[in-house]
Symmetry: C2
Subunit: 450 residues, 2 copies
């Protein structure tokens, strides 16, 4: 095989030979992954960049107790993050500390010092993203946030750059690997939520306290960021309705399969009439044939519905040190490219202005629902539920009951024709008070994803 | 719903208020789609940009015979593309003429005139991409090529920016909507190749002369571009082995399904030992469970195998005026952002240096094969084929024969254990000479895509 190399000449005014210096604060899973990827892909990255990229300083609170002997390059160590920002050889500060107060302090100190910032902190970006972008533009520095959503999947770049000419009708995401692992284990291996969770904890996919993941809070930060990037709308994270997966049972998969559907924890932001956004994180009943139904295990997947370009999906690794490290370094490469090319400014959130919205108005779209009731079997129950739904003018599409269920704990499911959110809530409150229920009813939206 | 708007202040040194002027050359399907998307998404795009984007001039050879009354903005018309480049109000030239000699002339004239260029011409970029990038860097202008591969799917941005920190082991793509439509029609509706092709032609998915699509040439240009962006290696397009789908029959889907597999036209570039690349376009037998198997109809899909971030897939619209228009405008937005932010240079192919390689060395990897023979049924045929394979030390994994086939035209299939490319070719040449064959044998690689 013959081979020649063509080097592109540095263009006018650029200082292509200047090495770009990197400082990393935080050496946990993602920090370690980032350093490892940089170590192994360094040459490839430099071929992309046309300049050298050098890791200059690493900071960790307990840096001197860490075994960093696997790091091959000569790099300064510190336990004081301010030293990283002060280091004149550091052009880009990579913030990977995890905890919000410290992350926020590092982020603003970095930007205020006129240095470029890459962060993997979703909470920081979801809650302080606009302020951070504003400050970075004032200071003429760049921000990288790709690692905040769906780790190794380049979703934010894809939306912000590759689909910058699109306007979106909706975005649907499987944004939390832990819950998707649990749900797909329940689905394909027939285990209970508790068993699947225990398995996820053994594999390191779930924390000892899994609340942040299984109750949907992690996905909520991510959909808040996707909403900013897709729609240019900033919403207060805590106002986004969220519901976790702890109430999903085997029987729900059995019923969903009878409907040619399955269950996934979906983070969704949909444009409605009047440019209102309907944003929520909750388990949804989706078609087996939809692209997101085939996203299994700890994989993440995002489905973008464009007004002109049709439907685009991305799937990939959502977490893990090295996949997230790839995302961090991709931002570093982007910023290093801009450093060598000159120029200022950055719109990592995709827009130059945002509408700050409060959520609160109920959705005006009609939605189909899946209602699961667990009752003590006695005559007349179905009639009473039907009467209540009828009084709220909600039509029943089908009633499903698996054979051979115990009479004292009898789960059955009703699928309901499309109805308004407010009306459904009123009917649901009434039904939830019925004395014959063995446990609170479960209501899931049934959504026709492509 | 309360709403406030936060505008990000223009940063130091940027001229955020300056409108960016656009000229479009070529008003066919993609040109029309681009203008329509711009017309409808203009406000959204300007919110992203923070500056105005104005269509200043449109060029078409027969501009004065075209009905352009649907264009709402005031725009100059010309039938001479040189006028677009000369127009001082045009900052970005969008080249959408299709034919190579003209496209090439426009592209180089644009760059030489110091103007930014966006093109959807895959042949131009596959054959002259390096030269064009080199010239654009000399001239300090940007290039946009997103529309060249998989229309509305932001694959090039995703690789170049969002996965810039990755190094890839392989890329597999369904890059031609026409052939994927034909194959999935054959698979799901049981029609013949000819019937599926006729249907595709009726729907406008296939040209009256479908050679360029069905023989794989279109996909070959696209995999050449993906190879540049993924691996930084430029290869002569005509050296990439290509095989079309015209020989695929219903019976092949029947056999593939028995193996829990299906058939897709896959454009693949894989890194092998010694950094050699194995690049090819051909129908492959892939697992039903793989992500690309679920890419149906005229949709495109790309599967990226990273060394650190795992597997990432993108699916979306591959062609069509408006999806491709979205890709064109996404490049326009990127370039307009850089214009307003200052700075020079551009690496649309993802690298600052490329290895120019000649292909020619046979693949050293072992590959499993699917071998379909159509014979006149007579005793001893299987023994002779087995003996030939055995002499070349190729092991047989299974022999499949559907019941009820006609004896005069009996198709049967052998699946072969992994074997080297050169050895397989030698055995295949011998088998192809057997007199009892009713038609030439069909050999497809069977690839275990994730």
């Amino acid at each position: 095989m013959t081979q020649t190399v063509q080097r592109v000449k540095p263009h006018r005014g650029a200082s292509a030979a200047r090495p770009v210096g990197l400082g990393i604060i935080g050496v946990g899973t993602v920090g370690t992954g980032t350093i490892k990827v940089l170590q192994e892909h360094g040459l490839e990255i430099e071929r992309r960049l046309g300049c050298r990229l050098q890791l200059k300083m690493i900071c960790s609170r307990n840096i001197h107790n860490k075994d960093l002997s696997w790091i091959k390059s000569k790099v300064a160590l510190t336990s004081d993050w301010k030293e990283v920002i002060r280091n004149p050889e550091v052009d880009i500060v990579v913030e990977l500390v995890g905890k919000l107060p410290t992350a926020r302090a590092i982020a603003f100190a970095t930007v205020n010092a006129g240095k470029h910032l890459v962060t993997a902190n979703k909470q920081l970006v979801a809650e302080h993203g606009l302020e951070l972008v504003g400050r970075s533009l004032e200071k003429g520095v760049k921000l990288g946030i790709e690692a905040c959503v769906a780790g190794g999947t380049p979703i934010l770049h894809a939306i912000r750059s590759g689909l910058a000419g699109e306007s979106f009708a909706a975005v649907y995401g499987i944004l939390n690997g832990t819950t998707n692992y649990i749900l797909t284990e329940m689905e394909h291996r027939g285990v209970s939520f508790a068993e699947a969770l225990a398995g996820a904890q053994q594999l390191g996919y779930a924390e000892p306290d899994p609340t942040f993941d299984v109750e949907g809070f992690d996905a909520r930060y991510k959909i808040a960021i996707l909403t900013m990037v897709c729609f240019g709308q900033a919403v207060p994270v805590e106002e986004i309705p969220v519901e976790g997966i702890t109430r999903i049972e085997q029987v729900d998969f059995a019923y969903a399969h009878r409907l040619n559907r399955t269950i996934r924890l979906i983070a969704a932001a949909r444009k409605q009439r009047g440019n209102n956004l309907d944003i929520q994180v909750r388990p949804m009943i989706i078609p087996q044939s939809s692209q997101l139904a085939s996203v299994r295990g700890s994989t993440n997947g995002i489905l973008l519905v464009g007004n002109k370009g049709g439907t685009t999906t991305l799937t990939g690794r959502g977490a893990g040190g090295e996949p997230t490290g790839v995302a961090v370094l991709s931002d570093v490469v982007e910023i290093a490219r801009m450093i060598t090319a000159g120029g200022t400014g950055s719109t990592p959130l995709g827009y130059s202005e945002w509408h700050k919205k409060k959520i609160g108005q109920p959705s005006v779209e009609l939605v189909s629902y899946y209602l699961r009731l667990v009752v003590r079997d006695r005559p007349g129950i179905l009639a009473r539920v039907c009467a209540t739904l009828g009084r709220h003018r909600i039509n029943i599409d089908s009633v499903l009951q698996e054979p051979g269920m115990p009479r004292e704990h009898l789960p059955f499911v009703m699928t309901l024709e499309p109805t308004g959110d407010a009306r459904m809530k009123r009917a649901f409150r009434e039904i939830a008070r019925f004395p014959f229920l063995v446990q609170p009813p479960l209501l899931l939206p049934s959504v026709d994803l492509p």
